[in-house]
Symmetry: C2
Subunit: 263 residues, 2 copies
DNA sequence: TATAAAGGTGAATCCGCAC
DNA sequence: AGTGCGGATTCACCTTTAT
């Protein structure tokens, strides 16, 4: 099995090629199935650039459930018994994803709340500002108790207090956000590196293999490399793979070299 | 339909007695101690003895799902078209509950995170401190857009900035926590009044009817009375009803009388 | 050069009514 | 059900332009 590589292809089909019990961590950022229909305007009459990508469209709940059941089934097979899996989502999809994971035998360890510093407000005053996304963190099953969790390291990272399941992190904006030739965002849902840093620091050791079945522009790979972990990415869109390869090639293994190892 | 009353009986059976389109708000805090304490509920809310093998584990999920499908179906029937429903849970159950609500046609407006000031630490250092519970807030369906939401009031309540979906509230402790004759907590999952205050303030008007199918010690009723709303509670355990009646009788309608009305 | 003002933007299921 | 239009509605952070 090749490591530090990006596989171009269909997520479920490519997962099926990977061997049993072979990766230490899985981070998955699947399509959320947002179901946006109308154009939303800000109070100053500019348009909100919503997620209208084809990869986020599903015909029905049943189709979305079947898709998630398929890729999550493969993920559970591929995961080592000492490994864990993270899946991120919003209220649009995370309840379905979480229920499917339970049905497949995954054992939930935490539901981590990404509490955004700077969420987009609700412009019409019709709801509360949607300020979070949710990460479900699971072991392979109730009986698999010897999973990696770097408790002391995360406590140190958190000012010597036990880290909680609420992570206050800003959106991926500014210099970190990859831009296309037109100056627009290159990917509609790029995640902040701080989020992946916490995921990888807390639940892998140096040299471990991290699998990301929805690699996108490669945030998981970039952070894995910085932290001296290995990565395997699967991504369908060639344009994202090009961006990710270039990004990761330019990454240095510099992330606070000495500090971030569990004692 | 009687208001400001507590109905003793089985949740699903008593919900079935209530008329269509008759309540303005539902707040539900269903049981969620599935695997944790090996207590499971059948669809008729009777307890199931805990079991450990894989087949029965799946059967247990199925029975919990059937139970939730039953009471949530009744809730949707009873709810006015202008009403909304809140359901609170933890990672043990909220994914199943959320998926069922979507399947029944409820339309999620927000997933609100109760971010606890003072959560119990993870003593073994095997997970992150579980610092949240989740509230799913839904309208009756995608097509029902004229639900009550007191946006300006919540903005005022929140220091003149739009309230977000993260609510920082402490656990119910101290004087607020009801104690039994033995000095121990009278109910294992009593919710803080601040939580219910935000729920009721944001999504009802004075004089509205609030239904709580899992009334417990009556936090919903007590806060509803303080805020000049009406309540209907359903509770199976007579000992909790006694506590709740006494509690609500001693409540005064004093909660910042003039201030908390949407302009 | 420094500071201030103006403009852009983020995984968004964001309205109500008349015709 | 679709279309069109009046009217109410926003927070943090980054970039660009102006003073």
């Amino acid at each position: 099995m090749d490591i530090n590589t990006i596989i171009q292809g269909n997520c479920i089909e490519e997962l099926a090629q990977l061997p049993d019990n072979s990766v230490d961590l899985i981070f998955a950022d699947p399509p959320y199935n947002m179901q946006l229909e109308n154009v939303l305007y800000r109070p100053n009459n500019t348009k909100v650039d919503g997620v209208d990508d084809e990869w986020d469209k599903f015909a029905s709940f049943a189709e979305y459930d079947a898709f998630c059941t398929a890729w999550l089934t493969e993920c559970r097979r591929i995961l080592k018994n000492t490994g864990t899996i993270w899946v991120i989502g919003s209220y649009h999809n995370i309840f379905r994803v979480g229920a499917i994971m339970l049905n497949l035998g995954f054992w939930i360890l935490n539901d981590v709340t990404w509490y955004k510093n700077n969420p987009m407000p609700n412009f019409l005053g019709s709801r509360f500002t949607n300020a979070t996304e949710t990460l479900v963190w699971c072991s392979k099953g109730k009986e698999h108790k010897k999973y990696t969790f770097n408790h002391k390291l995360m406590k140190k990272y958190n000012g010597n207090k036990q880290m909680t399941s609420v992570w206050r992190i800003g959106l991926c904006i500014g210099k970190e956000r990859l831009k296309g030739a037109d100056g627009k965002k290159a990917h509609s849902t790029q995640k902040p590196e701080e989020l992946l840093k916490r995921v990888i620091l807390s639940t892998t050791k140096q040299g471990d293999i991290v699998l990301d079945p929805f690699f996108g522009t490669g945030t998981t790979g970039a952070v894995a490399k910085k932290l001296k972990r290995h990565y395997i990415g699967i991504e369908q869109e060639p344009k994202y793979i090009t961006l990710a390869r270039n990004r990761i090639d330019n990454v240095q293994e510099y992330f606070e070299e000495a500090g971030w190892v569990e004692e």
